[in-house]
Structure formats: C-alpha cells, structure tokens
C-alpha cells in the first residue's frame, strides 16, 4: 500500500482491502458490525449451507470450530476508528472454497500500536511444530489469566493447531494510528 493511502476516504480504503480478500468461490461474505447476534446468525447460515454440500464430517466440524474462533476474534478485537460511521462497518469476513479447501479471511481495523505484539505472536505460532503448538496451547490454557474481553489468548493458537496450516496475515496502514489487519486461514480438505 502506498503512502498516500491515508489520504483516501475510509470507504474507498476498505473497499480496496476487501477486494483482496476474495479467493475462489465465495460461500458467505459479510462486512459491518460484529456482535453476538450476527455471529450466531452467520454460524447458523454457514451450517445450513455446509449441510447442503458434500463436506466430510471431520472437515465440517473443524471448519465450524475455526470459524467460531475467527468470528469471536473479530468480535473481541475490532478497534473502532474515531469518526467512522456505522455504514463503513468495523469488521469483515469471507468464507470461500477452492480446490485446497475452505479459506476463512477476516479483516478489521486495529490500532497501529498493537501491530508489533500481534505480529510477534503470529510469527511465533507459525514457527512452531504440531507438538510444540500442543504444548504452547496447554501452557497458555493452564497459566494465562483471562482477559476482560473474554479471550484467553488461545484463539490464534487453536486456529493454527486445528488447521495444521500457517496463519497468513498483513497490516495495511490507513492513517498514522490505524491499520487494516487481514488474517487468512485454510481449512484443508
């Protein structure tokens, strides 16, 4: 993203970010407010759609689990840009299907001050083997106290563990204080 990104209006900036999230055949795409009702409705919709398709039971369960974590990550971690209006939304996700499996992409604005911590965490997770992830998960489960937001810091570890794939991500600066955080995970089929 070029330096003049900050001069763009937010709607245009987000449209460009969203456009990059599409991959393969889209099953569900959403942008807007992320709340408990939206999450419940989305999960219900996806469950109904998946039962129409011929998806292996094990893959379906894994996908559902990972979706829950991805959507609840959005719910807990979206940062609202001051001055943005509701129509511009504050979170987005796309579930799509390719020959490899199901891609779950999420995007949300985060304070740029959080980037280094988030990046360090994801890079660490991506560097671990299957067994190391299991041990890391158990360590965090047993030792880390709950955050007020309800997240136990386990979401990303769990996503990496269940999918067995690396977490792909990027940060696109919107202005000096906020960036668009994009996360993409593959549930292999």
């Amino acid at each position: 993203m070029s330096d003049n990104s900050s001069k763009k209006p937010m709607s245009e900036f987000l449209s460009e970010c969203y456009a990059k999230m599409h991959k393969g055949n889209i099953i569900v795409a959403y942008k807007g407010e992320i709340n408990a009702t939206i999450i419940a409705d989305t999960l219900g919709l996806i469950e109904a759609k998946l039962s129409d398709e011929h998806v292996d039971n094990q893959v379906r369960k894994k996908l559902y689990n990972v979706l829950v974590e991805c959507l609840q990550n959005l719910y807990h971690h979206v940062d609202i840009v001051p001055g943005s209006n509701d129509n511009q939304g504050n979170g987005t996700f796309v579930l799509s299907k390719t020959s490899e499996g199901f891609y779950i992409a999420t995007g949300n604005m985060v304070k740029s001050s959080k980037i280094s911590i988030l990046k360090e965490k994801i890079d660490k997770i991506n560097s671990l083997s299957k067994d190391e992830l299991k041990e890391f998960y158990k360590f965090v489960l047993n030792n880390q106290t709950f955050s007020e937001k309800g997240g136990g810091g386990l979401g990303l570890i769990d996503i990496a563990r269940k999918t067995g794939n690396k977490l792909k991500y990027s940060f696109t600066p919107f202005n000096d204080d906020y960036s668009f955080f994009y996360l993409n995970v593959l549930v292999s089929e």
Partner: protein, 126 residues
C-alpha cells in the same frame, strides 16, 4: 443443596448438577462470547458441593463444539474436581467424543494431562 439445571441454547450447553447422585452432565455446544459469565453459577455450585460431596462423583462431558474462551472455564470446573480427589473422594470424568472427531479426543487428552483426576475417553457410537 439444590439441583442446578441450565437449559442448553445454540451457543451454550445443557448442564445438570445433581447433588444427591453426584452426577454432573455437560452436553451440547459451548461457544458463548462471554464464557466466564455463563460458567460462573457452575463454579459457584461446585464450590458448595465440594464442601459436602457424595463419595463418588461422575462427570459426563459430551460437547459437540467448544470455543477457546470456554476451554479456560472448563479447566476451572475440572480444577474444582481435583479438590474432591485430594479429599479422598472418587471422581471420574467421562469425556465423550464422536468417532471421527480427533480434535475433541485430543482436547480431552490435553485436560487429562493437566488435571489430576481420572479420565475415561468414550467414543460415541451411532
């Protein structure tokens, strides 16, 4: 002590805590956004129960899905059961999983390695 019966919803499990039989059932889905709030009455009930428990406590956990937020709360529930064990009471955790659900089996094994209470892994056969 009274029986605690929490009815299930699409996001939360059915939970029955029976003080007269010592049987605890947790069944369904546990994917609420705020798990601490949901599990608080369960943890509080257990705090009371362990003061005057049955000689044998059986915990049946049959979850279809649970999120990572619930995983911490489930650990808290299991940690209460460790106290029973320490007090020479019998406790067993029956961890149910569907035949092809390796993730659920593995989740049970994770708890088994952390919690000092006997686990029984039970495969659900249709």
């Amino acid at each position: 002590m009274e029986l605690l019966n929490i009815e299930g919803t699409p996001k939360t499990p059915t939970i029955v805590l029976n003080p007269s039989t010592g049987v605890i059932d947790i069944k369904g889905r546990s994917i609420p956004e705020n798990s601490i709030e949901f599990y608080r009455p369960v943890v509080e009930w257990l705090d009371e129960y362990i003061k005057n428990p049955q000689s044998n406590t059986v915990v049946n956990v049959q979850l279809e899905y649970f999120n990572t937020s619930s995983s911490k709360c489930i650990l808290d529930v299991f940690k209460k059961l460790e106290t029973l064990k320490k007090n020479q009471k019998d406790v067993v955790i029956n961890w149910y999983y569907e035949e092809d659900d390796e993730d659920m089996l593995e989740a049970g094994e994770d708890y088994e390695s952390i919690i000092k209470v006997p686990f029984k892994m039970i495969q659900i056969v249709d």
